[in-house]
Amino acid sequence: MHNIKIACENVSKTFLQKGDTRVDVLKDVSITVRDNEFVVILGPGQCGKTTLLRMIAGFEKPTTGRVLMDGQPVGGPGRDKGFVFQSYMLFAWRTVRGNVEVGLRMRGVPKAERRVISQQYIDMVGLTGFENHYPHQLSGGMKQRVGIARAYCNDPQIMLLDEPFGQLDAQTRLYMEKETERIWLQEKRTVIFVTNNIDEALTLGDRIYTMKDKLPGTLCNCYEVDLPRPRESTDKEFLRLRKQIIEESELVL
């Protein structure tokens, strides 16, 4: 039941910038994520959150250390690892349906079957009726719903979400968090969710890893959030944890 799905073992990453400047972006990061667990990585801007997630997805290789999935080193990106991008990354030339179906097209799934599967996920993220809209006709929240449906359409074992709601206004953001929880409860997956927002982290996470600011990014602490869902941000325990995290990680809010 509580198998370890993802494990990062002492992962470090050094980028070469503009030829020969070496930038240490991550240092000695070790995390474990259990099956069907919702893990949040909470860190301030520019601390290597995206880089960490991209390594788990297989887009980048760690400079040292290992990333394991089911005990096997992660080779490269693939449909078993769904990724939701910080800046949406929708294909402007495809409709909502065309974007959601991208992975199915890649696998050569016949059109009729594609329709059925994509419609299921379009309905799931609440975009019914917008199938034939182009991305420029959608609001930010709707764009990210497409991003989420697109990732789910590959039927991944893990979902990696990189600050998916970072560009949304506070109200829409709150709403999208509720939606994310609903979708996760409906389609249980192992989820790693990156954010810089502490309330978002506490609303969604089974467990929260905090990261220090300043490069190279390192892990700070890990918190179990053992609160019943849906969570209330006015709940006493919620507020106590919030205070504790802020104090211990010197988060600037």
């Binding site: 693939g78 990724f83 800046s87 990354m89 030339w93 019914t128 590959n154 829409t172």
Partner: protein, 282 residues
């Protein structure tokens, strides 16, 4: 989950209709401003001719129209006016077509393959700053004075913007878009097919527009030098016989044809790229 939940995410901009005065209404009307600008231009033109600034170098605007009508009813160097127009257009189409067939793939492959780029970029960078018209002499030495040198010059003139736009269209694609394909388990070929191609289309269309106007200015240069036909020839005839109306008539016809061509490309782009915000909605 239905669409009304999302309604709060869509922000409709409703412009309020204020009671305008007549002057405000006129100034807000596009067509009014268009006609004002045309009338102003013609007015200045009439005035300049009236006070005789250029002497025989300039005629009244209406004389250009009568000149066009006159030219349609008589032959120049054995050809009617529309035949001259067609000769020029044909040269542009052939030269432009050759440039498209060679230039767009070249720019595209320079964008997607760094080896291809390493081989062709230095040569291309050498050709890029040369004005197309500077090829006139060389092309006559190589190809004589038939159709070939003219088409060659047009092709050169259209070639550079086509390569440049296709190349930049690929280069400016956000790398992360390829990650979407990689995430879905797609191969490198799929990346090119799903992302590079469609993402570069708008830039390629921009290149087509620039290349087309480049082609029309080159056909003029080619025909001014050595030709017995084409609108450039009509213009030269007008110049040699001191008929300003004939020169301007030629210029006007070129502008008209070039405008129609450009309109066709815009139309094609709207058909091919219904997803462009600036094209599909107002």
């Amino acid at each position: 989950m239905t669409s009304h939940h999302i309604a709060n995410e869509i922000h409709h901009v409703v412009r309020e209709k204020k009671p305008f005065s007549l002057v405000d209404d006129l100034l807000m009307s596009r067509w009014f401003l268009y006609s004002m600008s045309v009338i102003l231009f013609l007015g200045i033109w009439y005035y300049v001719v009236y006070i005789d600034v250029f002497g025989r170098g300039l005629c009244y605007p209406h004389e250009v129209i009568t000149e066009i009508i006159r030219l349609t009813s008589r032959k120049l160097a054995g050809k009617e006016l529309w035949e001259h127009a067609w000769d020029s257009s044909r040269r542009v189409f052939i030269g432009f077509g050759i440039a498209c067939v060679l230039g767009i793939p070249l720019g595209f492959f320079m964008g997607i393959s760094k080896y291809f780029n390493a081989v062709f970029n230095p040569i291309f960078n050498l050709i890029k700053p040369m004005p197309p018209i500077s090829w006139v002499s060389l092309s006559i030495l190589w190809l004589g004075i038939g159709e070939e040198p003219k088409i060659f010059i047009i092709a050169i003139g259209a070639f550079v913007p086509l390569v440049l736009n296709a190349y930049n269209g690929i280069r400016l694609i956000d790398e992360e878009l390829y990650d979407v394909v990689r995430m879905a388990g797609g191969s490198h070929m799929k990346e090119i097919w799903e992302v590079s191609f469609p993402a570069a289309v708008p830039a390629i269309f921009a290149g087509l527009q620039i290349a087309l106007s480049g082609a029309w200015s080159c056909v003029l240069a080619a025909e001014l030098v050595s030709s017995r036909s084409g609108l450039g020839f009509v213009i030269v005839q007008g110049m040699n016989t001191g008929k300003a109306a004939m020169v301007i008539a030629g210029m006007l016809l070129i502008a008209l044809i070039a405008y129609v061509c450009s309109f066709c490309i815009s139309y094609l782009e709207r058909k091919i790229c219904p997803w462009r915000r600036d094209l599909s909605t107002h």
